[in-house]
Symmetry: C2
Subunit: 244 residues, 2 copies
DNA sequence: CGTACGTTTGATCTTTCTCAATAATGGTGG
DNA sequence: CCACCATTATTGAGAAAGATCAAACGTACG
């Protein structure tokens, strides 16, 4: 079976309704598929982007660099995510995107996407909503890194990934193969790898998580959620459902 | 002279072209003007928004709260900024917006804005670009709070506000009345008020800034920029100009 | 002119970082 | 299948940045 953009369309539809004609137009977009090794660049900071990438399989992350060489991971991506929608209309990339694991991406020309957005109001709006949700996640990360201690930060990141994977239908229960090294976890939480190691062991000692290799399980999801100060509102998963 | 939305339109036009007809449509939007005291809520976390606000004068900030009551300021706004474009399509606000100073805002109904965005492609796109730039600023803040030390964080925030005010034509030279208390600076940088005080004095001792009351001047802009690791690319001010 | 708020300063404490060594893991070529 | 090497994870000891606590000082405003 050849790869399609369906996985991204499903995700867009969670938050923005898309009719049959628009669905078809999206799926008809021409794209090239590429398989990338771990740590491959999808886009570099400073580049003028000509394509947008959809992550079909594997994991990726976004990153910025500080003057002293320090790296900050500013977001992680799971299959189905559109990786650089911001480059649809911004002419210079302000951050880099790299694969976390081996991954396959669909590359769509920026011009084609712009044309589609111009002709389909529903698609334009779905892109807009997707960008707004991205934005909301960034806001939560500012809070995470700015006002939470190490234990909360790490727990929060684990919760976010778990919840997003679950919403995308990529995990059966609460537990998954964490695609990040402790160094990457450190860069995502504003901590050091050494402290990540200690923090994970502490969470394990508290029985809030259990690990074997990189596989993480959540024997006490509710306890972890509380420890993480995790409130999934910022993920805007209930966008289409009426709320209380 | 009665207030108009022109100030917001000017700002949108910096990054996205808008023709005469679309300009007129935007300026014809019905709105109510309200004057707000310092610390007034414009929107509360958890609210279902029915209006979007344009900041006509004064300053505002966005904020999220942590479980322990800690507050994180996730962005500041200057006159001309559209304050809650994210609420145009998201049905529950994931963060609060409050005034920093006494301010006037124009309140536009969400439905009217949505209608305008549906009928005017240029406006829709301008909103999109505005949201993308907001997003870029959030990313830089994650880096600021996650990977920079106190001196860099404070210097960076001062630079950002200076540069944005200048781009909006609101300051003649590099120097302005800082509309934030040290406690608010602390909440914006993930530090404590005490440490903000010490950091500002240190920057002053280094002759990178000078202060009288809340007025800040930059006798050595280039030095400050370097100390802050401030690279204005993330503000995407050159969006319409061709770049190297 | 007094009261509330914001700022400054000092002393001490805590979290996290840094440095360094060791251990486990995973992948590779023989 | 095994030995080797590079990467990743763990642990301990000491250092440092920033937090906390507490008091004093300014300033603005009713």
């Amino acid at each position: 079976m050849s790869p399609t953009l369906e996985i991204a369309l499903e995700k867009l539809q969670i938050r923005s309704p898309i009719g049959d004609a628009d669905r078809a137009a999206f799926l008809a977009l021409p794209f090239r598929v590429r398989t990338l090794e771990p740590s491959s660049y999808i886009i570099r900071e400073g580049d003028a982007p000509t394509q947008c990438a959809v992550l079909l399989s594997g994991f990726a992350y976004r990153q910025k660099l500080a003057a002293d060489g320090g790296r900050q991971i500013i977001g992680v991506h799971i299959p189905g995510d559109i990786l650089d929608l911001q480059n649809l209309y911004l002419s210079v990339s302000d951050h880099g995107v790299q694969t976390l694991t081996r991954a396959t991406v669909a590359l769509i020309s920026r011009a084609d996407l712009q044309t589609l957005a111009r002709t389909s109001l529903a698609i334009q709006q779905a892109f807009f909503v997707d960008a707004l949700v991205d934005s909301s996640i960034f806001r939560e990360w500012i809070l995470n890194v700015g006002r939470r201690d190490a234990r909360e930060r790490v727990a929060h990141l684990l919760c976010e990934i778990a919840r997003r994977l679950e919403a995308a239908g990529l995990t059966a229960e609460y537990g998954y193969e964490l695609p990040m090294t402790q160094e990457q976890l450190a860069d995502a939480t504003g901590l050091t790898p050494v402290h990540i190691s200690r923090t994970l062991r502490a969470l394990e000692a508290e029985k809030l998580i259990s690990r074997s290799k990189r596989h993480i399980r959540f024997p006490d999801w509710d306890g972890l959620r509380k420890a993480a100060d995790f409130n999934e509102r910022y993920l805007h998963l209930d966008q289409l459902r009426p709320h209380l």
